[in-house]
């Protein structure tokens, strides 16, 4: 890359919060390296205050995103896939650097990640028909159960699947109308940063998806106890002690918690379990003959 006497522009990546790219409030960064330990870029190291700001942004984002129609949410997800398609080459090279895999494997992961967004885009206006129900009741009422988004979800992306795993965590959370604060893979954050650049140029509502880079063990405890976070997705937490501590913290404000899956297979077609995990069921009794 470094040709002749040109000096390459070295990057210091930033966080993605509220649709903007702020530096960490703490001013800290860390070095992202490839699997051989070679320097790739400087990456912002988010602090607890950054997480707090992200919660505010996510709450604002939730207030408009959860009111968007299911059809519109599907369109926005589709638009994310469109923008990702245009950045495919960058994703492939990012994944190759981050995970030390062949171009073929990196391409396959990128294709799958984009297809996964499309898969959830399709579900946006259909999942309620599958997870919801009309219930037979012994009285003159219609009785419906309807899934609704839980609210603000704090998630940890898996450490090993830097793009497909990340997308597989984000997409089901936002499909139903939630907002998400996701902590990208600490070791391989660059694909997540490229994704945030895609999100900023698609139609995602500001604050709906917030991507932090840094150490989940530092950031997650304050999110787990935060009164304005409604659910946790601990997918990327591999340390059982930390997972337990976060679950205990979350209990103080009665959050939904989805624990880390055992040996997840990101390549497999997902079920609706991730979508269902961050919804609340509302049951409505409607009098007949009115």
């Amino acid at each position: 890359m470094i040709g002749n006497d040109r000096v390459e522009v070295r990057k210091t990546h930033k966080l993605f919060v509220g649709g903007a790219f702020p530096r960490s409030e703490s001013g800290r960064t860390y070095e992202a390296t490839n699997s051989q330990g070679e320097f790739l870029a400087n990456v912002a190291k988010a602090s607890r205050k950054d997480a707090r700001d992200a919660v505010l942004a996510a709450r604002t984002g939730f207030n408009s995103w959860s009111k968007a129609t299911a059809y519109n949410r599907g369109q926005v997800l589709y638009r994310i896939a469109e923008v990702m398609e245009g950045r495919k080459d960058q994703f492939i090279s990012d994944i190759q650097d981050a995970e030390a895999v062949s171009a073929k494997k990196a391409t396959h992961q990128t294709d799958q990640a984009i297809d996964r967004v499309l898969w959830y885009a399709g579900w946006a206006d259909k999942y309620a028909q599958v997870l919801g129900n009309t219930n037979p009741v012994s009285g003159p009422f219609f009785n419906f159960s309807i899934p609704e988004p839980t609210g603000v979800v704090a998630a940890v992306a898996p450490a090993d699947s830097s793009l497909l795993g990340l997308i597989s965590v984000i997409a089901p959370i936002i499909t139903s109308g939630n907002s998400v604060i996701v902590i990208a893979s600490t070791a391989s954050p660059i694909p997540a940063i490229t994704l945030s650049e895609c999100l900023a140029t698609s139609d995602v509502i500001a604050g709906n998806i917030n991507i932090l880079t840094g150490d989940p063990a530092e950031i997650m405890p304050s999110l787990a106890s935060h009164g304005d976070v409604n659910a946790l997705d601990l997918t990327g937490i591999t340390d059982p002690e930390l997972q337990k501590a976060l679950q205990i913290e979350a209990a103080g404000t009665v959050k939904r918690v989805r624990s880390a899956p055992v040996n997840p297979d990101w390549q497999a077609t997902p079920s609706l379990s991730r979508l269902r995990a961050f919804t609340e069921v509302k049951t409505v009794w409607h009098p007949l003959g009115m």
Partner: protein, 316 residues
């Protein structure tokens, strides 16, 4: 500057208020850039945890919990008054706010709930525009006082002020002060409509000379409402007035203050401008509706150690 002021369009008033015109014309101009820089610098003070706990409780006790909507009902005022008495029902150590602030016709409803535990303030004098005859304004004031208001928030006639008719504004304040009887008088300058900090300084002096117990930034109906530089200029006027007369006038910053962080900045400006004698609900107030919820969330955060959220405070 002074030549313009002395050429009042109302010559009769100008001649009968020569002293007032001379006083206002003699005030030095405000360095706007300097005032903004000073306010911004004070806003960057780092407040440590114990001070923050104190500041939040002080700020809560200085709030005039306000509802001034056309859609106000007795039910809404009743609920707001309960909240004013016990802002955080989950924690009885939370202080009550200083007062509730309502339209005159809702004073009885407010008084019924709060009794004599906290003050009831009523806006009067054709709030928020102030466009009515003096007779109407006086009646508005007397009715609110008779209904049990112990604080009256009046608006000045900005039209008359901007036209240079200071005598008219002065006389109105004097008349309303008389109509207030024992009730405290807060004079709303509506700084958003006065446009310049020079005018804010003049209006502050005018109101204090006319007998205001408090000078208040804004109605909350005009943007910009309270800002830090405007409040700084008003506090400086209060400080200078105190040096001359030994009388302490209160200041109320109203409108647009929404977060605890903002409120603490105001407390810093108060402390640094007029001193800690003013850090009491008797001399400094916040006119606010949404600020209280943020103060309560920050208070919960201080005591519990984790961030609170809007789910843990009441919706007004």
């Amino acid at each position: 500057m002074s030549s313009l002021d002395s050429q009042s369009p109302n010559m009769r008033s100008a001649s009968s208020h020569k002293g007032l015109h001379a006083l206002l014309a003699g005030l030095s101009g405000v360095d706007q850039v300097g005032a903004e820089a000073r306010a911004a610098a004070l806003g960057t003070r780092s407040i440590k945890k114990e001070s923050k706990v104190w500041a939040i409780d002080t700020a809560i006790s200085m709030v005039d919990l306000t509802t001034l909507e056309g859609a106000d009902t007795v039910g809404k005022v009743t609920a707001m008054c309960s909240k004013a008495l016990h802002p955080d029902p989950t924690n009885p150590s939370t202080p009550s706010v200083a007062a509730v602030c309502v339209y005159g016709d809702l004073v009885p409803a407010a008084r019924e709930v709060v009794g004599d535990r906290i003050h009831v303030a009523a806006v009067a004098t054709a709030f928020p525009s102030g466009r009515a005859s003096l007779g109407v304004k006086l009646l508005d004031t007397r009715e609110a006082v008779a209904a049990g208001a112990d604080e009256i928030d009046m608006v000045i006639d900005r039209g008359a002020f901007l036209a240079g008719n200071f005598g008219k504004v002065f006389e109105e304040i004097v008349a309303i002060k008389e109509a207030c009887g024992d009730a405290h008088l807060k004079v709303i300058l509506e700084t958003g409509e006065l446009k310049t900090l020079d005018n804010v300084r003049k209006a502050s002096w005018l109101a204090m000379k006319a007998g205001a117990d408090f000078i208040k930034t804004s109605t909350g109906k005009v943007a910009p409402a309270a800002t830090l530089p405007v409040t700084l200029v008003m506090l400086e006027a209060v400080r200078d007035y105190y040096t001359q007369t030994n009388v302490r006038i209160g200041v109320k910053a109203a409108g647009g203050i929404k977060t605890s962080k903002d409120a603490i900045k105001y407390l810093v400006v108060v402390n640094e401008t007029v001193g800690d004698a003013w850090l009491t609900p008797d001399l400094f107030r916040f006119g606010a509706s949404t600020l209280l919820n943020d103060l309560l969330q920050q208070r919960q955060k201080m005591l519990s150690g984790h961030y609170s959220g809007p789910d843990y405070v009441t919706i007004d």
